[in-house]
Amino acid sequence: MSTSIDSTTLVVPEALVFGPVTRTDFVRYQGASGDMNPIHHDEEFAKAAGFPAPFAVGMFQAGLLASWATAWLGAENVRSYRVRFKEQVWPGDVLTCTGAVTREYAEGDEQRVDLELTCARQTGGVAITAWATFVVPAAS
């Protein structure tokens, strides 16, 4: 059933490099999202919980990675986005968001692609892995 799609539409764009991330980035995301867990901005609370500093809300880097993917394939075209949180992101980290197409296929009369995406820290450690599905509009 699957038909190939125009691969010229699927050239992976340049990675998004973001940072060094700051507590301000965390706080701005927390305000935007409504998740005000103090472990992401309150130094004393984070230390009392056994962490060396406040760390990023996982959904912050999930949002960054989604921003990279939708800038590439179109915000209206996303049909699923699943994130697994792996390593915490700390103030001062530089994050690199990128990804690759893992599958191209037809579903009904739509062309779709599945992606595997990563947001990595400057250490090489993977902060999050994500999987996304996008509809690919017919080339005009």
Binding site: L16, F18, D25, R28, Y29, G31, A32, S33, G34, D35, N37, I39, F45, A48, A49, G50, F51, P52, V57, G58, M59, F60, A62, G63, L64, A66, S67, A69, T70, A71, G74, A75, E76, N77, V78, R79, S80, Y81, R82, V83, R84, F85, E87, Q88, W90, G125, A132
Partner: protein, 149 residues
């Protein structure tokens, strides 16, 4: 400790208005300057935007509180959004409801036993059509994990 009796329980339905200003704020906070989020009267919402459901869950609408996870040892393990068409646009009024769907334990490599909890939230538009579904997996660790070296 997580409360196992929470499984199968739902929060009360709540309304979520997808708003242009909130989309702009969220896009800015997630490193995006994509015109799709910033231009026009009815921009589309970003893939993780429905996390803003927190703002709309008053009182009994927040099913997550039924789980009673320890906030100091609670972490987000996975998050998934599924869209049954384009993501909702500014101007859409969604009705949503969250249900605690699963809870299970695993032995962690560090930090002792871990309790995983899953919550599914369904978002319907004014016609009652299911437009999006969110699935959150949270984990309560036995003790605070050490920083990755």
């Amino acid at each position: 400790m997580a409360n196992p009796d929470a499984v199968g329980r739902s929060g009360s339905p709540f309304t979520l208005d997808v708003e242009r200003g909130k989309i702009r704020e969220f896009a800015r906070a997630t490193g995006s300057s994509d015109p799709a989020y910033l231009q026009g009267d009815h921009p589309v919402s970003p893939p993780t935007f429905l996390t803003t459901q927190f703002f709309w869950q008053d009182g009994d609408a927040n099913a997550w509180q039924l789980v009673e996870l320890n906030q100091q040892r609670g972490l987000h393990a996975e998050q998934e959004y599924t869209f049954f068409g384009p993501p909702p646009k500014a101007g859409t009024r969604l009705t949503a409801q969250s249900t605690i769907t699963n809870m299970f334990e695993k032995q962690g490599r560090r930090g002792g036993p871990m309790t995983f909890v899953e919550m599914v939230t369904e978002f319907r538009d004014e016609s009652g059509a299911l437009v999006a579904q969110a699935k959150m997996t949270g984990v309560e660790t036995g003790r605070a994990p050490e920083e990755e070296k």
